[in-house]
């Protein structure tokens, strides 16, 4: 993409440069050609006028009888041509348009011998023209009237050699063409180099954008210059910082939601926990009553105190588990055994499971690899799913079954499946169960955040969570987690 952009810019600018250079070169060339030819024309006219003035003097002297009529003009022309090698031919017409004198009769080419065929004296006051002669090559022809005001003695035509001027034009063309090519190549190379630098900077920025990781934000290595790309880099850096702040705020909010949901789960556990604590308390009360009946029976007292101590240990264990579950933690990824975390959650649910006659079927893969995840968050997910399963079977008189399966899924993932035989979810609600605040439970019994929070936790670990359910047949949640945690 970047190369394409670079190539397009260079191609476009290259063509633009060529077109502009050609236009400028052509204008320059034609201007110079015009100047050179005008210079030639003026020089030729100056020479022709000078010669015409002397010829005119001669004609006037002849007319005044001061010069002989025979041979004078021929001698003048012969002498003039001997001294001016740039004049290739010369023809003089009398006032009637007849050839009076000519420089040469050698050429057999009528177009050359009688140059005036192309520029006849009848044309009168014609000044100059350029044409290509078969014998002489390129010729600049001048035509001057031998005339003073209305007094005319005829017309003088002279052919000047234009080949040297044309050779100069040819050299000029190749010089300008060479300079134009050099200019275009240099400028295109410069553009290529410049665009390369610009696109390299852009490329580095794009790479940095691609490698941008919200979990590992490091300052950009690019130097922010004062140009537009520098501004882009600087803004990118600011955007990263704002994203980091936003993400931190989001995480804080998320953590508060998780905690709130956890507290809600604890609320849902409260009656079961109370019962669990109540049983050892009753046992302790019975022990204390028995000790009070026979305080001197030391062996019995010792036994009852042992039993009370066990009951207290049991209560302490329950409270410890509950506190452990409810404590608010910062996200911390550690290597953990998934099966152990499931067991910890199940231990909090023992009373309620037995009360509702729910059977837990555990199909744990024994050699499951360690999972890199936050155990507290994973526990929260499992707790949410198990509480939902238990809620779905609460109405059932004969209880139900929850099947918990763990297995390795391919090389890098662990699969956790929690399936119940509860009331299931209506197919119309199935798409909405992960939406925040969506619940089918009675008011006060659910926050509607459980599954939404679970989805967030699993996705933050780089995993997936899906649900299959059929009304009155049960619901199965599939969770897949990467062993190495989120990338």
């Amino acid at each position: 993409m970047m190369r394409s952009l670079k190539a397009r810019i260079v191609l476009f600018l290259g063509i633009l440069m060529i077109v502009l250079t050609m236009m400028i070169s052509i204008i320059l060339l034609y201007q110079w050609r015009s100047l050179i030819l005008e210079n030639q024309r003026q020089n030729a006219l100056a020479v022709a006028r000078t010669f015409a003035a002397s010829i005119l003097d001669g004609l006037i002297y002849q007319e005044s009888g001061l010069l002989p009529n025979e041979g004078y003009l021929e001698n003048q022309i012969h002498n003039f041509l001997g001294k001016n090698n740039q004049v290739r031919w010369l023809v003089m017409y009398d006032r009637d348009g007849h050839v009076a004198v000519r420089s040469s009769f050698e050429s057999s080419d009528p177009g050359d011998a009688g140059e005036a065929e192309a520029l006849p004296p009848a044309a009168g006051r014609t000044g100059t023209r350029i044409y290509r002669s078969r014998s002489f090559g390129w010729i600049l022809e001048t035509a001057l009237p031998l005339q003073i005001h209305s007094k005319s003695w005829g017309e003088l035509h002279m052919g000047f050699d234009l080949e040297p001027a044309r050779a100069r034009l040819q050299r000029l063309f190749f010089l300008i063409f060479g300079l134009a090519v050099l200019f275009v190549v240099s400028i295109t190379a410069f553009i290529w180099f410049f665009i390369n630098r610009v696109t390299q900077s852009l490329g580095r920025l794009v790479t940095e954008m691609k490698q941008f990781d919200l979990d590992n934000i490091t300052p950009t290595q690019m130097k922010a210059g004062e140009d537009e790309i520098g501004v882009l880099v600087s803004n990118f850096e600011k955007m990263k910082q704002r994203l980091q702040q936003s993400r931190q705020q989001l995480l804080n909010a998320q953590r508060q939601i998780y905690h709130a949901e956890k507290l809600a789960s604890i609320g849902r556990l409260a009656s079961g926990v109370a019962h669990e604590i109540n049983n050892p308390l009753h046992g302790m009360k019975s022990c204390l009553y028995a000790i009070a009946q026979e305080p001197r029976n030391l062996p019995e007292v010792k036994r009852y105190l042992g039993l009370a101590d066990e009951a207290l240990d049991h209560i302490a264990l329950i409270v410890q588990k509950l506190l452990g579950f409810s404590r608010q933690h910062a996200k911390q990824t550690v290597a953990m055994e998934l099966n152990n975390e499931i067991e910890k959650v199940l231990s909090l649910l023992t009373y309620r499971l037995s009360k509702n006659q729910i059977i837990i079927e555990k199909k744990f893969q024994s050699d499951l690899p360690l999972l890199h995840a936050d155990p507290h968050l994973i526990q929260e997910v499992i707790m949410n799913l198990l509480l939902n399963s238990m809620d779905s079977m609460e109405e059932e008189e004969e209880g139900g079954t929850i099947r918990i399966t763990t297995a390795r899924n391919g090389e890098g993932h662990i699969h956790l499946e929690i399936a119940d035989t509860g009331c299931g979810i209506d197919s119309r609600d199935l798409d909405k169960i992960f939406d925040p605040f969506f619940t089918t439970k009675d008011e006060g019994k659910g926050t509607g955040l459980g599954l939404s929070v679970s989805l967030g936790i699993i996705e933050s670990h780089g995993g997936t969570i899906t649900c299959q359910s059929r009304p009155y047949r049960g619901t199965t949640f599939h969770i897949t987690l990467p062993i190495q945690g989120a990338k």
Binding site: M22, A53, I60, L66, R125, L144, P145, Q170
Partner: protein, 309 residues
């Protein structure tokens, strides 16, 4: 990649082809004939009438005479319907001879030549020119180089003197009149030489070949501030007259006089008309009478009786 190379090649071929086309066009320098000179005004149709030939004394080279006098001929031809044509001569005397022989019917003569010729030849003056101040006279002037120690005519003793034609007023005024007034004789000068043209006199003085010279005021004015200083000025001399043979058809004479008297140098259209005329005749004319020249004639006539040396 291949398509890109093909595209670049195509563009290069296109520009090369364009360059070749430009080269061919650039090297083809053929041009159509261009018009440089405006067509000359056609001469008035002869209509079978005779041509009036006009002579000009050889005060300039022949082509300069044509440059300065042919426009006057064109003007007269156009204004009178009569064809006027120049006829040059190789000397002042030849012009007089042409008048005598009837080869010319009219002429531009110098004042001195006219004074000499009117005594023995059948001519009469009809017009005299105005100068740039629109006065019908001119001055002859004695000139030296700017750096010359000569301050007056009295300083000319032992100096070299350049003069225009011996048949011109300027060629006679100093030697025949002014030297005597300053107590000098021709023999007091180192040398005297006559040249064909007034401008030649100026160049000779400027080149230092002569210490002083005499020219018409008009020529001296051309070189004032360009290395020439005027040390003496003649009295007012009636301008060089236009003369006709006494037997010339009076109608032609009248037509000539009327046409030339119409010239008014103060009018911009007339200034354009006379732009190419000899400057001596480009400020208009007044009628000339024989008597206008009598006073000058009397001076020279008296001097001719006395030897110059």
């Amino acid at each position: 990649m291949k398509s890109r190379i093909a595209l670049i090649l195509l563009i290069l071929i296109f520009f090369l082809a364009l360059t070749l086309l430009v080269y061919r066009n650039f090297m083809d320098i053929t041009t159509a004939p261009d018009t440089v000179f405006p067509p000359a005004a056609p001469l008035a149709a002869a209509g079978g009438r005779d041509t009036v030939h006009v002579g000009v004394i050889s005060r300039f080279s022949p082509n300069l005479i044509y440059e300065g006098y042919q426009p006057i001929m064109d003007y007269l031809s156009r204004e009178t319907g009569i064809i006027f044509a120049l006829r040059l001569s190789s000397s002042y005397e030849e012009t007089i001879a042409q008048l005598d022989q009837g080869q010319i019917q009219s002429a531009f003569l110098g004042t001195y030549l006219y004074l000499k010729a009117r005594r023995d030849h059948p001519i009469r003056c009809i017009l005299k020119p105005l100068n740039s101040q629109l006065q019908p006279y001119f001055h002859s002037m004695v000139i030296t180089r700017d750096d010359s120690p000569i301050r007056s005519i009295s300083d000319l003793a032992g100096k070299r003197l350049a003069l225009p034609s011996a048949l011109s007023f300027s060629g006679n005024w100093l030697l025949g009149y002014e030297l005597q007034r300053h107590g000098l004789k021709v023999s007091d000068l180192d040398s005297v030489r006559y040249f064909g043209f007034h401008h030649t006199v100026v160049y000779q003085v400027l080149l230092g070949r002569f210490d002083a010279g005499v020219v018409k005021d008009r020529v001296a004015a051309e070189f004032t501030g360009k290395g020439i200083r005027v040390i003496a000025v003649s009295r007012e001399i009636p301008g060089s007259p236009i003369i006709v043979r006494r037997d010339l058809d009076p109608l032609i004479t009248e037509a000539m006089v009327k046409a030339l008297l119409r010239i008014d140098a103060r009018r911009p259209d007339h200034r354009a008309l006379v732009r190419d005329w000899d400057p001596e005749f480009a400020w208009g004319f007044v009628p000339a009478e024989e008597s206008d020249y009598d006073q000058v004639d009397a001076i020279f006539a008296a001097l001719e009786k006395e030897p110059r040396r």
